[in-house]
Symmetry: C2
Subunit: 229 residues, 2 copies
DNA sequence: CGACTAGTTGATCGCCGTCAAGTAGGGTGG
DNA sequence: CCACCCTACTTGACGGCGATCAACTAGTCG
């Protein structure tokens, strides 16, 4: 593994929108308590029902965070990419959570132990503002997805998912129908049917595990409550 | 309006599970920056699309917090009762949110201005732990409700709603079919049909705007992800 | 070249949202 | 006390969306 210096960490922090606006001294101190870890593709970072108190900041790769019911139904609710944090609430939570986190690609992350994280918060309360703002955005996104599930047809949900993914990751999107269906809250079959319509309209092109969004503007709806992944 | 002394405030804080475990000095300081306000039944505390930076702690009465889509579909996601906070993320958020808060009964609350709230957080970082824990529980509840919507039938959802409400408020529950349907994410008709079945099974009794849960145990399911309202 | 995975399409079926019509409680004013 | 109205509740009928099952095609990797 190549070296990842303290300076590299601070550079990452500076680019991270999560840590935007925080002073150099704080980022520098944060760098001290983080440790570089790697996960290979498909690795499980945190299993459902486990208590996980470690906080991660993604350096490279992509992490999928999902919740899973007892009957196996799963919904993906976060795709954590470079510069974004995972499990920022974990150290505060007493009970195990329903979360499951998995590496969609080979990843490197910075890990912060739960204890060190909590101590850091008390010492550097400025960062609390960033943390709660970040949680707040996720929270609003969660409830806009509930509204989506209740009142939007599958076709429209798939369109919104593709549009959001395209905004975040650009083209081509490397997702399968199963992955998309877990984001949109539907089945792979319905996902493919919906994508077939979009393809017929010329809005997207699809390949095996790849999707190109051709007409970005036509896929954006003016609805309140943009989906955040 | 009767007097509500600083001591009364601190007593309320002590009973609040939200503020559990915090030292007297902190509660005392918190009391200093809060102001008693009242709302009559049906009053709108915060309208959708407005930026609201005031934080509230409910002294008495009941507040309904809902999100609302552009087509008018509404889902209630929080019922805030005595000792519970509302809008603890608001002061941190830059953009208007989709929330709407309304007094279901005549209410008294303690109000904290957004600026004073943020200043208090920086000065008393201990309280951050309580805040994020509280948010975390709501967050998990939100995602367990997404799973519910996806895979549970209406009958079961209604049962879960009634069970959760009974745990929080006891009998009789003073809710109409419209209110319940907005919590369960369905229509009033389906809500009443589901309740009809529960009534036929002897699990509940219903009156106009009142519901008595007769068999508490039979209504509890062993599912992960308890619904929090 | 074979096996596995991803995508595609068709047929069926049941839940539940919607519309509609009718009942009953509870408050108000006379 | 009764007549009235408004709201909440109740029940029935219908229809469409989408989950599910199933069969088939087509890439990709060893």
């Amino acid at each position: 593994m190549e070296t990842f210096t303290k300076q590299d960490k601070v550079d990452l922090f500076r680019r991270s929108s999560f840590l935007h606006g925080l002073p150099f001294e704080l980022l520098s101190e944060l760098a001290e308590i983080t440790e570089l870890v790697t996960f290979e593709k498909g690795a499980v970072i945190s299993r459902i029902g486990e208590i996980s108190h470690d906080v991660f900041l993604v350096v490279s790769g992509l992490m999928k965070v999902s919740v899973c019911s007892s009957t196996g139904k799963r919904i993906t609710f976060l795709l954590v990419k470079e510069g974004e944090p995972y499990n920022i609430m974990g150290p505060h939570m007493p009970a195990p959570r329903l979360l499951e986190a998995e590496a969609l690609q080979a990843m490197t992350c910075l890990r912060i132990g739960g204890g060190a994280y909590l101590a850091f918060l008390e010492k550097q309360p400025q960062i609390v503002h960033n943390i709660i703002r970040w949680i707040g955005v996720s929270f609003d996104s969660a409830y806009s997805r509930i509204l989506d599930l209740m009142e939007k047809k599958v076709d429209l949900r798939i369109m919104r998912v593709l549009s959001s993914l395209h905004q975040k990751f650009g083209s081509p999107l490397m997702f399968t129908s199963v992955e998309l269906s877990e984001i949109a809250g539907t089945t792979p079959e319905s996902t493919l049917r919906a994508m077939g319509q979009l393809r017929a309209l010329g809005l997207i092109e699809t390949g095996r595990g790849k999707i190109w969004v051709k007409d970005e503007k036509a896929m954006i709806d003016d609805e309140f409550g943009k989906m955040i992944l």
